[in-house]
Symmetry: C2
Subunit: 403 residues, 2 copies
């Protein structure tokens, strides 16, 4: 019987990234039928028959799900190249902060920037990811730290999807830094987040998740607890930057609130891993910041592995600690710097990254899932992790359309 579909991609090797017991979720079938933006069927070319106007010959290349970059801060004003240069010329962080640099510099520039300016620079950065096979990006706010600018950032982030073939997931990160207006009373800022901004974000549906920076230079566990509680009251998911520079037990706190992910976790105490297991929380590793800040403490990869915690990888694209607009570079860094296998890395930017964003229809080549797919001219999936800047997708489909 002939079935109707919109497109058939034939003659491909499929690394589905399903958890099917095969490395990379490799499938034996060689054809994918697509209908209404979804994968309708995966089948052996000779076995079933689909009627559609379009057929694409994959020439025995590898088909993978589009990559998901599950942690970025890519909407921001200005850049910090000037600071970077000053540090290399010998200035200290304190001197730079005193002259208005650091995160406050980005906050000032983001508050001043028009929506148009923010959007055009964000599109440029997102394009770099999209060119490399990314079809879904999480974008956090957190450089406004006042009501209007935080909402502006989230609106801009959502608009990226109107210009590029990519899904955008937005996260409200008010608890990123204490703004200068609240420097002497940070608890009041936390109250402002909980009472004013979270309700507005929820009402306007500008984010699906609330994030915090739980760190001595960010917010205390007690403050983060308040933010999480407010988020839950407004039916928003929570996730958290934790244990990046020290162990404040942020991961345990996040697990208590069933966080969908804990991110960074270089200083995570392996004893806290069972709590993450219990809460189904994804561990998001960000090797870009580790590299850029010349850190030496590595996340407890062996223990995460032993406890079967899903590990995701992301660029953390931001102007201060990871100005790296390349998922492929970050994938290589995850192997070279953190020792993940190429297979773990590829799970980390597909199915596990989807889980870190609670997206159930992305991150795998699988019947019923979104047809966000990339075709790669390689001999083995490990080649995507082994080098830097060696590959680009030969073809790419977003929601079933070639792009």
């Amino acid at each position: 019987m002939t079935k109707q579909c919109d497109l058939v991609i034939d003659n491909v090797r499929i690394a589905s990234m399903q958890k099917n017991g095969k490395p990379y979720g490799i499938l034996t079938q060689s054809s994918v039928a697509i209908k209404n933006g979804k994968v309708l069927a995966i089948f052996d070319g000779s076995q079933e028959s689909y009627h559609c106007n379009k057929r694409y010959n994959g020439e025995n290349k590898w088909l993978l799900p589009g990559f998901i970059d599950c942690h970025t801060h890519l909407v921001y004003g200005g850049n910090r190249a000037n600071e970077f240069e000053q540090r290399l010329q010998g200035k200290t962080y304190t001197e730079i902060a005193q002259q208005g640099g650091g995160i406050q510099g980005t906050v000032n520039a983001t508050r001043e920037a028009s929506e148009h300016t923010l959007l055009s620079s964000a599109i440029k950065r997102a394009s770099r990811l999209v060119e490399e096979g990314v079809t879904c990006i999480e974008v956090k706010s957190g450089y406004g730290l006042d009501l209007d600018t935080e909402l502006k950032m989230l609106k801009v982030a959502k608009q990226i999807a109107e210009y590029l073939p990519v899904s955008i997931v937005t996260t409200y990160l008010g608890a990123h830094a204490v703004p200068k207006e609240y420097r002497s009373n940070p608890d009041d800022y936390v109250q402002f987040i909980c009472d004013r901004v979270i309700p507005a974000v929820a009402r306007q549906q500008l984010a699906s998740c609330v994030d915090v920076f739980c760190e001595s230079i960010g917010f205390s566990p007690a403050q983060c607890r308040k933010v999480f509680a407010a988020a839950k009251t407004h039916k928003l998911n929570v996730k958290a930057h934790v244990e990046q520079l020290s162990d404040l037990k942020g991961a345990k706190l996040a697990a208590e609130f069933a966080a969908i992910s804990v991110d960074h976790i270089e200083y995570l105490d392996p004893k806290d891993i069972p709590a993450l297991k219990q809460s189904g929380t994804v561990a998001v590793l960000l090797p870009g910041a580790f590299y850029y800040l010349s850190e030496t403490q590595k996340p407890p990869v062996a223990e995460l592995r032993a406890n079967k915690i899903p590990i995701a990888i992301a660029t953390d694209l931001n102007p201060g600690s990871s100005p790296i607009a390349s998922i492929l570079t970050i994938m290589n860094m995850a192997s070279v710097l953190f020792g993940l296998t190429p297979e773990e890395v590829l799970y980390g930017v597909t199915i596990h990254a989807a889980k870190a964003l609670e997206l159930s229809s992305k991150g795998q080549v699988k019947t019923g899932m979104d047809a966000d797919l990339c075709l790669w001219d390689i001999e083995h999936p490990a080649e995507l992790v082994y080098g830097i800047n060696q590959h680009r997708p030969s073809a790419k489909w977003f929601a079933g359309r070639i792009c």
Copy 2:
């Protein structure tokens, strides 16, 4: 008086990379006239008048010389993704070498590959560099280790320039590894290099330079001395991989032969720097291999600086220790990993890289020099070093032609 030219690029900010006492060799003029592939004049748009059919409005963007990648091994057969994966899965180097991996694996694949196959994979890699603003690439042989394959590699390297807007400089690196045929008598291999291959390379003008890998796992200083002497006899320049993993005094030896560059030099003894100064040798730093091999010993940057040794930066693009096809990534690594300032990095991929290849007409925006130019949509040259994968040239000219 109106002068004739082929093109005027107007309204640009020029980081000439000349050594003119200004950071980045910044010029006050805003226009560049080009004729016969060379820079005819740099002038203030309002001051002089040129007659030509083409004018390009640079819209106040930054004009820099095209980048020069002065150390690559980008012609090779196969890749080593499989090995990379096995190492991350826990196999040792010895186990991998025993099953035919490592450099010998690449030698086997390169010997087997047709010229066509080698060329098409090399063009793909070179394209990645060219896209990022590279207009000149040095390519070494060294994965053949027999007469025919070494000559084949050099011929293939030269052919890249027929397909891409880039100059290719070739280097014969027979003394890269001892091939299996000579494993029990490496001195005979050195003799073969000197008596058979160097004369053939010189006669056929397939390379302008001879390189060696002076290291315990490569060739001894005594062996390198023989190779250098043979190169000099045939009027070829010399350069050397030295002090990458240990201090064998390769740099001193290279200086004795007036080497145009010494490359890697993590283990260089600062006491040997005056010899490099004396011989006018360029120090080529290769942060990609340092990163990829997880090395910890950094080159003596402060001492090189204090002695005013010209420092160049290169990708070292190769399948084993630096499969990184991105000059922009390497430029960022030179700052982040080795502490070079953005200005030093940009000198390192322009005027100093030209000097490492003995090219007197490249690496600067300067009257009389090759019009290999890139226009960048940035606010400051340091932005090219500060991030990874954030920028591509807005426009590019090779030998005066837009490309």
